[in-house]
C-alpha cells in the first residue's frame, strides 16, 4: 500500500530498505528530517555530528570499513564538508556511501541560494535528483547500488519543495547488507601525492563510465527518461521543475526528465532535442544543464527567459512558454508584512535588549537569534555563515582597536560547537580583546530542536557526555567566563557592560533553555493592569509577539502566546504588568 511520505522521510525509508547501517549528519533546513526519521528505524546507527565535515568523514570511515553509510546536510553544509568530499572522490568506497544535500531555492531558511549541482561536477561525483517522494525512496536505493558499482560516493540532491513535500510512495522490506571485509590498500585509501596521482586517473576513467551509464542503464532503469507527446515543445528538466512543467504544459510538450544531473547524458539529450521543434531547459538556480547542452552544440532556450533567482512554479512556466496569465482576486486592504520573529519567551530577547542598551556592534551567526537583526531589536551588524561571528569579531577587533570595547559576537550553543570554537581558539591564541556571547538555549533551535554535544543527549535521547562550555572556553585560554540568565535583565546588562569594559577576552554564556522545549515549564501568562499602564511603549521595545497595543496605545498581552518570562515586567516602570 502506498503511504504519504515527506520527501525527507522517503529518503530515510530508502536508507532503511537499502540496508544502510551508519548515518551521521548535522541538522540544516531543509535536510534535517532525513536523519531524524532514519533514527527511528532499527538497524541504522544514527547520530548528530558536531558539523558537516565530521559527519561526512564518519560516513567515509564507515563506508571504507564496509558498511553502507550516509550523511545529510543543507547546501551550505556541503561547503563545510567540501574537504572530505573532494578526496573521498579519489579514494572511492568499499560499501556504498551516499551524501544527501538539500538546496533551498527561494531561501525559505538559508543565507544564500547556492546550487549544489556544481559540487558534483567539481568533485567528479554522480548526482541523482528525485522529483517526488517515490523517487526519493527509489533513488536512495539506486544511489547505493551506483556507489558500489562504480566505487564512488554518490550525491542525492533535494530542494526544499522535494524535501518538505509529502507525496505517495510504496514501502518494501529492508534488504540486509553484511559488513564487507576491509582490505588494507594504502594505494587506494592513503591520499598522498604518489597515490593520489594514480587515483585521479581512476576518477577520470570512472566519470567516462558513469556518463555511459547515464546514456544506457539509467535510461533502462527509468532514471533518465524521455516522454514524448507533442514535439512542438521539448522540455529538458529534473527534480521539482519536472512536476511544475508537467502541470503547466501537460501533453502539449515532450519531456526529457533527468534523474541523474551529473554526469549528463549528452547523446540522450541530443537525440531528444533533435526530435522537438523548440527545446527549453527548465532548472531552478544556475544554468547547469543548459551550459552542458550549449557546450555540446545542442540548441536550447534557458536562462534568457527563465530567472536564476528563487523558486519556479507551474504558473511561471506557463506564463513564460505559453503566455498564460490566470485571473486573480484582490482586496483593497494594504497588508502589512509579517516577518518571522523571536518567539514569546525566547531567551535571546533579554540578551539582545542588553546589547541594544550598550549600542554594541554585534557580529552575528546562524540560528534563531539571527532574528535579533529585525526590528525592533535590530541588534545585528553581520551574519555570514556558521561560526563567522567569533572569527569575524576577532578580525574586526584587529582592524579597529578603537571600537573593540563596543563589539561582541553572538553565537548559539550548537553553532559554537559546529565552528565557533576554532574562532575562540584564535581569539585566545592571537590575543584580541573580544567578547563572545554564547546563547546557550540547550538545543539546536532553528532546525526544530535537535540534540547537540552540549545537551547531554544523543539523537535517540540516550544520556551521553555533555560538553561544558565553561570548561571548554577555559581550556582554550579564556580567563573571564561568566554564566548569566537572560531572563534577568539587570544581571544581563551588568555582564555585557563589565565584559566590554574588561581588558582581556571574555566569554559570556547566556543560559536559558528554549521556551518551546517540551521540558520547559512555563509560568502563567502575565496581565496588563490598564489603570496603571501609561502607554509609554517601553514594553514594546523588546519585540515580543505576545504584546500589542490597544486603540488607546495601552499594552495588551495575548494569553495564548505569553509564557510568563517576566522580561517585559522588568521594563515596566509603573508596575502595570502583573502575574
Amino acid at each position: 500500500m502506498k503511504k504519504l511520505f515527506l520527501g525527507n522521510g522517503a529518503v530515510a525509508r530508502g536508507l532503511y530498505e537499502a540496508g544502510c547501517r551508519v548515518v551521521s549528519s548535522y541538522p540544516g533546513t531543509p535536510s534535517t528530517e532525513i536523519t531524524e526519521i532514519a533514527a527511528e528505524y532499527d538497524g541504522i546507527y544514527c547520530e548528530w555530528a558536531p558539523n558537516e565535515k565530521v559527519a561526512m568523514e564518519v560516513a567515509v570511515g564507515a563506508a571504507i570499513a564496509g558498511a553502507r553509510s550516509f550523511c545529510a546536510m543543507k547546501h551550505v553544509g556541503l561547503n563545510v564538508a567540501a574537504d572530505p568530499l573532494f578526496t573521498a572522490s579519489y579514494t572511492g568506497i568499499n560499501a556504498g556511501m551516499v551524501i544527501g544535500v538539500a538546496d533551498d531555492p527561494g531561501m525559505h531558511s538559508s543565507q544564500n541560494e547556492q546550487d549544489s549541482r556544481h559540487y558534483a561536477r567539481a568533485a567528479k561525483l554522480p548526482m541523482l535528483e528525485p522529483s517526488d517522494s517515490a523517487e526519493c525512496l527509489e533513488f536512495t536505493k539506486a544511489a547505493f547500488h551506483l556507489s558500489e558499482t562504480f566505487d564512488t560516493p554518490v550525491i542525492i540532491r533535494l530542494t526544499t519543495r522535494i524535501a518538505h513535500s509529502r507525496s505517495l510512495a510504496e514501502e518494501s522490506e529492508r534488504v540486509e547488507k553484511d559488513v564487507l571485509k576491509y582490505e588494507k590498500n594504502p594505494q587506494k585509501y592513503v591520499m598522498m601525492p604518489a597515490m593520489a596521482k594514480v587515483r585521479h586517473a581512476v576518477v577520470e576513467d570512472r566519470l567516462c563510465k558513469l556518463a555511459d551509464w547515464g546514456e544506457n542503464t539509467a535510461v533502462s532503469d527509468g532514471i533518465n527518461r524521455a516522454e514524448y507527446n507533442s514535439e512542438k515543445i521539448g522540455i529538458i528538466t529534473s527534480g521539482i521543475c519536472y512536476q511544475y512543467a508537467k502541470e503547466a504544459l501537460g501533453t502539449n510538450a515532450s519531456y526529457l526528465k533527468l534523474g541523474c544531473v551529473y554526469p549528463l547524458p549528452t547523446e540522450l539529450i541530443r537525440g531528444f532535442a533533435a526530435r522537438c521543434e523548440k527545446v527549453y531547459v527548465i532548472e531552478e538556480l544556475d544554468d547547469f544543464i543548459e551550459t552542458h547542452c550549449k557546450k555540446n552544440g545542442i540548441e536550447v532556450v534557458g536562462k534568457q527567459v527563465f530567472t536564476k533567482l528563487g523558486e519556479y512554479s507551474q504558473s511561471m512556466i506557463s506564463s513564460v512558454i505559453l503566455g498564460d496569465v490566470k485571473k486573480t482576486l484582490s482586496v483593497k486592504t494594504s497588508v502589512p508584512p509579517r516577518p518571522p520573529v523571536l518567539c514569546a519567551g525566547c531567551p535571546h530577547r533579554g540578551l539582545f535588549y542588553a546589547l541594544k542598551k550598550q549600542k554594541a556592534f554585534v557580529s552575528g551567526d546562524i540560528g534563531c537569534y539571527t532574528l535579533g537583526a529585525l526590528q525592533p531589536l535590530s541588534m545585528m551588524d553581520t551574519c555570514i555563515c556558521m561560526g563567522a561571528s567569533v572569527s569575524a569579531l576577532h578580525g574586526k577587533n584587529k582592524a579597529d582597536k578603537a571600537n573593540e570595547k563596543k563589539s561582541v559576537a553572538v553565537i548559539g550553543d550548537s553553532t559554537f560547537i559546529h565552528s565557533g570554537i576554532t574562532g575562540l581558539i584564535n581569539i585566545a591564541y592571537n590575543k584580541s580583546n573580544s567578547v563572545v556571547i554564547i546563547l546557550d538555549n540547550s538545543i539546536t533551535g532553528m532546525t526544530g530542536h535537535q540534540q547537540n554535544p552540549t545537551t547531554g543527549l544523543t539523537i535517540t535521547g540516550e544520556p551521553t557526555a555533555a560538553v561544558s562550555l565553561e570548561k571548554l572556553a577555559s581550556a582554550v585560554g579564556i580567563k573571564r567566563i561568566r554564566v548569566i540568565d537572560p531572563y534577568d535583565l539587570s544581571e544581563t546588562e551588568n555582564a555585557v557592560r563589565e565584559e566590554l569594559e574588561a581588558d582581556e577576552p571574555s566569554v559570556i554564556i547566556s543560559r536559558r533553555p528554549c521556551a518551546l522545549l517540551k521540558s520547559v515549564k512555563h509560568a502563567p501568562p502575565l496581565k496588563v493592569d490598564a489603570d496603571k499602564c501609561r502607554a509609554c511603549g517601553m514594553c514594546m521595545r523588546i519585540g515580543c509577539p505576545a504584546i500589542s497595543l490597544d486603540k488607546s496605545s495601552k499594552a495588551v498581552i495575548d494569553f495564548t502566546q505569553c509564557v510568563g518570562c517576566n522580561v517585559c515586567k522588568q521594563l515596566c516602570k509603573f508596575g502595570a504588568i502583573t502575574d
Binding site: 531558511s109 519543495r161 509529502r166 507525496s167 512536476q243 511544475y244 509579517r338
Partner: protein, 165 residues
C-alpha cells in the same frame, strides 16, 4: 477527478502544519493521489506560514500558485487578505476571525487594517467566517484552533463524515 487545491494560511505557531498533515492523511485514505507542501525552519517563527494540499487522480506540482486554490483555510484575518490572490475567482474562503498583530503593527509602523472581512467578501470570494479561537477555548484548549478549522472545512469537501471521524 481533476486536481483540487486547498491552501492553509496562518501565523507560525498556530498549528497550520499539523492541519495540513491531518488533511493529507484523510485524503490519502480516500484513495486520492495527494501532495502536501510544508514550510519548516525560519519562516515558522511567528511569520506568515502557508501550506498546500492538492489531491485528485494525479497530482504533479505540490505547490499552489495565484488563482489556483479551490479553498483557502485562513487561520487569521490578515493572512487571508495576504493570500486571497491565490484563490480561484469562484473559490471558497474559510476564515478564522482571530487577529494576530504582526511585528510591523506591534511596533507601531502600521495599524492592523480594519474591515478585512467585508473587504474579502467584496473581492468575490465565497467567505465563511467563524471565531475558531472562541470555539476552541470553549472546547477546552486554545491550541485546538486548527482542529476546529479543519472541522469547518470538512463540510466543504466531498469527503464523507465517517472518514473525518
Amino acid at each position: 477527478m481533476p486536481v483540487k487545491s486547498i491552501m492553509i494560511v496562518g501565523v507560525g505557531g498556530q498549528g497550520t502544519l499539523l492541519a495540513s498533515r491531518i488533511l493529507g492523511e484523510v485524503l490519502t485514505s480516500e484513495g486520492f493521489d495527494v501532495k502536501v507542501s510544508e514550510v519548516h525552519g525560519m519562516s515558522q517563527r511567528g511569520g506568515s506560514v502557508v501550506t498546500y494540499v492538492k489531491y485528485g487522480a494525479k497530482v504533479f506540482s505540490p505547490i499552489i500558485d495565484r488563482g489556483e486554490a479551490d479553498i483557502i483555510l485562513a487561520f487569521e484575518q490578515l493572512e487571508a487578505a495576504r493570500w486571497i490572490s491565490y484563490l480561484k475567482p469562484n473559490g471558497k474562503l474559510i476564515l478564522n476571525t482571530q487577529k494576530i498583530a504582526p511585528m510591523s503593527v506591534v511596533t507601531g509602523g502600521a495599524g492592523y487594517p480594519d474591515g478585512i472581512i467585508a473587504d474579502l467578501e467584496d473581492s468575490g470570494a465565497d467567505v465563511t467566517s467563524l471565531d475558531a479561537l472562541e470555539l476552541a477555548v470553549a472546547a477546552g484548549s486554545a491550541k485546538a484552533v486548527n482542529v476546529v478549522l479543519i472541522g469547518a472545512m470538512a463540510a466543504k469537501t466531498e469527503i464523507s463524515k465517517e472518514t473525518w471521524l
